[in-house]
């Protein structure tokens, strides 16, 4: 009876949280079996804004890769948007990823295509009709403040503008979760603030936002939930946290 109750409670937990990690372990084969993440338990609810912080080598990027199904955990359960990533087949990965938006430190835009095409590209992948693409892309570019630069190529934009294009591309398919891996790592103070405000706005519209960063200032300023990783272990998880120094 107790076992059944436990199972039900776990199922409720999985359904309530868009990200659910239970006893997750992973080690890189080329690191002589040294674990990159150890016994990770993590729950992130729909609509939350979460910072994941830690020094280099703390396991932040590994965590993002797990959530993207770029890596598979050696043990434990990883459930994102209701998909169990531990058992997911390669053919199901594209459909799963369409529910996520991803932003990287290095923007990862298609350099030979203009701003409009970079954003439209994400819609073409999910086979949106051309008519819808022509409507959605300008709306998204307005949201990130780049409506006037839709014809520009990435190299004609500043770092901040390129990152805003990346955010527009990540959001155009209306994902439930936005994963941002060091989104301000290549930006100056002013552009960093602009991007963080944009992410906050996205979150206010109902999207769960997970930001991996080592930018102390923005974490302390925004007063959001902060999960701190150290050597592959979660050492703190604060509701309105700050960047913990060593």
């Amino acid at each position: 009876m107790a076992e059944k109750e436990k199972k039900k409670s776990r199922e409720r937990d999985e359904a309530k949280n868009v990200i659910y990690l239970e006893n997750v372990n992973i080690a890189y084969s080329d690191a002589n079996g040294v674990p990159a993440l150890m016994n990770i338990n993590l729950k992130i609810k729909k609509g939350e804004f979460v910072f994941i912080v830690g020094d280099s080598g703390s396991g932040k990027s590994t965590l993002i890769k797990l959530l993207l199904k770029e890596l598979t955990a050696d043990s434990g359960r990883v459930i994102v948007n209701g998909y169990d990533l531990s058992t997911m087949r390669h053919s199901k990965v594209p459909k799963f990823r369409r529910g996520l938006g991803v932003v990287f430190q290095d923007f990862r835009l298609l350099k030979d295509r203009n701003v409009y095409e970079n954003v439209a590209f994400a819609q073409r992948i999910v086979m949106r009709p051309e008519r819808e693409i022509r409507k959605n892309v300008p709306t998204m570019l307005s949201l990130v403040g780049l409506a006037g630069k839709y014809k520009a190529k990435p190299k004609q934009l500043s770092g901040g503008e390129q990152q805003r294009v990346a955010v527009a591309r990540a959001l155009v398919n209306r994902p439930t979760i936005l994963l941002a891996d060091e989104p301000t790592g290549n930006l100056d103070y002013r552009n960093t603030n602009d991007i963080m405000k944009l992410l906050e706005k996205v979150n206010e519209n109902g999207t769960t936002v997970v930001v991996v960063t080592h930018n102390r200032d923005i974490v302390n300023e925004m007063q959001k939930r902060v999960i701190t990783l150290k050597q592959g272990v979660i050492v703190s998880d604060e509701k309105k946290g700050a960047y913990i120094d060593d």
């Binding site: 390669h90 990823r97 369409r98 990862r108 590209f121 992948i125 086979m127």
Partner: protein, 296 residues
């Protein structure tokens, strides 16, 4: 689905122009390989044709017992004609034999009042494969009514040898050329696609299916393969015709002994073969090279 098909096709065409250096390198590699392949195939087709022409001229002559009935001769001709290695079997009457021989004798033949070749009616047997001459002769020796069999063992053996060498060398060279072509082309494609690994990564992170990622690359490969095969086919066609005319007009003394295959006949095989190889290499080269980068 149709939208995706046309989008991928459009992207494939755009990629051809976007990645100019990759396109040029791939085109040059495919064209060069198929050009060498084409020259070799054209030479092999002509050598085979010449050997076959000479082969068809080699005959076995069969003479009959004295006083043999014409019915028995007809019977033997039927039996021989039905054999699989026999290409043609002609009956030559004694009168025809003398008429032919007297042509060679010229004025010297005028002294003869009767046919000196009265018993020389014969069958001229032409083979479709001279290496089977020994089998045929063995068979003819067992046939009743045959007095003598004339054959040219040296010619038959030499031709069989030449044919075997040409076949083995040509098959070997074609396999070698194809292997080298595939190696060179897949290397070019690998380098070209590795440069665009990031583009593939971005597509995969956004949620593109393997098909969506692969299709533009495959279309691009097919286009490059098609153009890369058409260039050498056109160039070779022009060169072949020029060489054909040159040999016929400048080496006209050879025309009685050697006949060449016309460009039309050579290219009826060579053009589709080159296009299939070019498109095939473009298709499989891009298909398998992209696969390496899909597990992101």
């Amino acid at each position: 689905m149709i939208n995706t098909f046309f989008y991928s096709l459009g992207q494939g065409v755009k990629n051809v122009f976007r990645n100019k250096w990759f396109t040029l390198a791939s085109l040059a590699t495919i064209s060069a390989c198929l050009f060498v392949f084409g020259i070799f195939v054209a030479v092999v087709i002509n050598v085979n044709h010449i050997v076959k022409t000479v082969e068809e001229g080699v005959s076995v002559t069969v003479y009959f017992n004295e006083g043999i009935e014409q019915d028995r001769i007809n019977q033997i001709q039927d039996l021989v004609t039905k054999r699989p290695e026999v290409y043609r079997c002609d009956f030559v009457s004694a009168d025809e034999a003398w008429a032919e021989f007297s042509k060679k004798l010229g004025e010297n033949a005028e002294g003869f009042t009767e046919n000196p070749l009265a018993d020389s009616e014969n069958l001229q047997i032409y083979l479709n494969d001279v290496s089977k001459q020994a089998d045929l002769v063995k068979y003819l020796e067992s046939v009743e009514g045959i007095r003598k069999i004339n054959k040219s063992e040296l010619t038959a053996n030499t031709l069989s040898g030449v044919k075997a060498v040409v076949t083995y060398v040509s098959v070997g060279m074609i396999i070698l050329l194809l292997a080298v072509s595939i190696f060179l082309i897949s290397n070019t494609v690998t380098i070209g696609i590795s440069v665009r690994k990031e583009e593939i990564n971005i597509m995969k992170y956004i949620g593109a299916t393997d098909f969506f990622v692969r299709a533009p690359f495959v279309f691009e490969g097919i286009i490059i393969g098609l153009v890369g095969s058409l260039i050498p086919v056109i160039v070779l066609y022009v060169l072949y015709n020029a060489a054909f005319d040159f040999l016929r007009s400048n080496f006209s003394f050879l025309n009685d002994y050697v006949s060449y295959v016309s460009a039309g006949e050579v290219f009826a095989y060579l053009a589709p073969a080159s296009i299939i190889i070019g498109v095939g290499i473009g298709f499989f080269g891009s298909f398998f090279t992209v696969r390496k980068h899909l597990h992101v």
